[in-house]
């Protein structure tokens, strides 16, 4: 089982940031305060949607067929994700 990357604090629900990174080869650790990239701040479902969008070369029609949804349902999902990314961008600016 691949553990899910937590993006929100389980205690106060605020966004989490990266404070430590580690090289598995030489065990070097880097400490600091790095914010998560936009893609990782999205939910797993939204990340999966973006990946599918990329894999179908941006064809919403093909995605709709693959997902078993109608075209406007898929387009609305994309619009919602775009809105969320815009919001995240403006928050971090």
């Amino acid at each position: 089982m691949i553990p899910k990357l937590p993006i929100h604090c389980p205690s106060c629900s605020d966004s989490l940031s990266v404070s430590q990174l580690k090289c598995e080869n030489c065990q070097t650790t880097v400490s600091g305060n790095y914010s998560l990239p936009f893609y990782l701040r999205l939910s797993e479902e939204e990340q999966h949607f973006i990946l599918q969008f990329f894999m179908t070369s941006g064809s919403l029609k093909e995605m709709a067929t693959q997902m078993g949804n109608s075209y406007p349902t898929v387009r609305n999902k994309l619009d919602d994700i775009i809105e969320k990314v815009k919001k995240l961008k403006s928050e971090s600016a």
Binding site: A64, T65, G68, N69, S70, Y71, P72, T73, R75, N76, D79, D80
Partner: protein
């Protein structure tokens, strides 16, 4: 099953829904002709002594034109990406419950009942109006079926509009409500002016 009856627009492709919508419009027009009823508004069914098939088709054409016109106009205000086809499809499909109302007039049942009740009514002495218990029960059942059909039709239309426009706020719902009221007024006016 519940989703299929109340919100088929989420999963089913537009081609299938469009063909289904066109088919039920043609069948619905034929039902109106067969059971002596006219669809004189987007949510209205009225019994009529004689109905010509072309008249029934024109009624439904006017109803569809009115509802699509207003919902597309308001849909574009809510979301510029709203496509005409995504509004047309729920406008076609949401009329299914209204078409099914035609069955209530099998063998002129509702028309005969309503005529007999009207003949009992003395305008000068409304207090003398008498209605049999059986007739009253039938009328109540018909009223319940009509209200059920109306709720089902509006639900279908709203779910389809919601998906077509990606609307979320209560202001958007208000625009939808305005759209269907205006469409009902326009369809009834146009049918009265050009198809009576």
């Amino acid at each position: 099953m519940k989703k299929l009856l109340l919100n088929p627009f989420e999963k089913i492709s537009e081609t299938k829904l469009l063909l289904f919508g066109i088919a039920i419009t043609l069948i619905g027009s034929y039902l109106g002709y067969m059971f002596h009823g006219r669809f004189i508004g987007i949510f209205s069914f009225k019994t009529n002594d004689e109905v010509i098939l072309t008249q029934s088709l024109i009624d439904n054409g006017i109803d569809l034109f009115s509802i699509t016109l207003f919902l597309f106009f308001f849909g574009r205000i809510i979301n510029k990406k709203t496509r005409f086809i995504d509004i047309l499809i729920p406008s076609l499909v949401a009329r299914l419950p209204i078409y099914l109302l035609a069955f209530t007039n099998t063998n002129n049942f509702i028309a005969d009942l309503s005529n007999s009740l009207m003949s009992n009514l003395d305008v000068k002495n409304p207090a003398a109006f008498h209605i049999e218990t059986a007739d009253l029960i039938i009328l109540l059942v018909f009223a319940a079926i009509s209200i059920g059909s109306l709720v089902w039709s509006v639900t279908l239309l709203f779910k389809g509009f919601k998906i077509a426009t990606n609307c979320k706020t209560s202001n958007h719902t208000l625009l939808f409500a305005t759209g269907i009221i205006l469409a009902e007024v326009l369809s009834q006016t146009l049918i009265y002016l050009i198809n009576y």
